[in-house]
């Protein structure tokens, strides 16, 4: 997107010319996607361990 295509409100969230930016501080576990991915990874590791054992 070019500068004139970005809404002014959205521009406030971007890196500014004076070298400042607005940042959100967020707990990673508050993100649904991260929680789901971590659960999936844990399950995968358990499955892979089991497969290895049965070999």
């Amino acid at each position: 997107m070019t500068d004139d295509e970005v809404d002014e409100e959205m521009k406030m969230l971007l890196l500014q010319k004076d070298g400042s930016f607005l940042t959100t501080v967020e707990d990673i576990m508050a993100k649904e996607g991260v929680r789901v991915a971590l659960r999936q990874i844990r399950e995968n590791l358990a499955t892979q361990k089991e497969q290895k054992k049965n070999k």
Partner: protein, 205 residues
């Protein structure tokens, strides 16, 4: 000699045929906290067919010549200031919202754009989500010639993640691409999100 031959190729940034460096896609600096005491990090996947992998030196490939590495190094030095908090100020403006200031706009934005561009030109499947199309050439020129554009031109945002109250430094998530629609003008674009070094950076629009 054999080794030199293998490293010879076309630099992705200046497009000249030169000896290429084994360039990092995400700067090595940001891997520091990821390695355990035995010197490796674990790559894990949500895909059960992919077994955990030990990664020793980040993700890198023969990409840039020495001169172009030096160009990108200048941008990375600015990012190092953010990582170390050197000469920066921070002001809380609300719960979970802060203003960070004191960066050099040009150098820091070019750092972000250079990571996005490197992911775009990388052959590593880990960065396959970044598909820049005709923007790849624009970004190559900007990174090469030091042009950061206006604030909204490939605008970049930065978020910060915590885990149990501490900065969540020791993880990295490959880039993800999402459609982006401006609420007011309805203009459509793409948003790239990648997470490393406790910051979600490089949201090129």
């Amino acid at each position: 000699m054999g080794r030199e031959k293998k490293n010879f190729g076309r630099c992705a940034l200046c497009l000249e045929y030169k000896t290429l460096r084994d360039s990092h896609i995400i700067p090595e600096l940001w891997y520091a906290g990821l390695y355990n005491e035995d010197g490796y990090m674990n790559e894990v996947s949500v895909d059960v067919s992919k077994h955990p992998k030990r990664v020793r030196k980040g993700y890198h490939e023969y990409l840039l010549c020495q001169e172009c590495e030096a160009i990108i190094q200048k941008y990375e030095d600015e990012a190092k200031r953010l990582r170390d908090g050197t000469g920066l100020f921070s002001q809380d403006v609300a719960d979970n919202l802060a203003v960070i200031g004191g960066l050099d706009y040009s150098r820091f934005k070019l750092f972000q754009l250079s990571v996005l561009w490197r992911m775009g030109v990388s052959a590593n499947p880990l960065f396959a989500a970044v598909s820049l199309g005709s923007d790849e050439e624009v970004l190559r020129q900007w990174v090469l010639h030091g042009n950061p554009g206006e604030v909204g031109d490939y605008g970049c945002a930065i978020g910060c993640h915590t885990y149990k109250g501490l900065h969540a430094k020791n993880w990295m998530i490959p880039p993800d691409r999402q459609p982006l629609i401006m609420p007011r003008s309805g203009r459509e674009g793409w948003r790239y999100i990648t997470i490393f070094g406790a910051s979600a950076g490089s949201s090129g629009l």
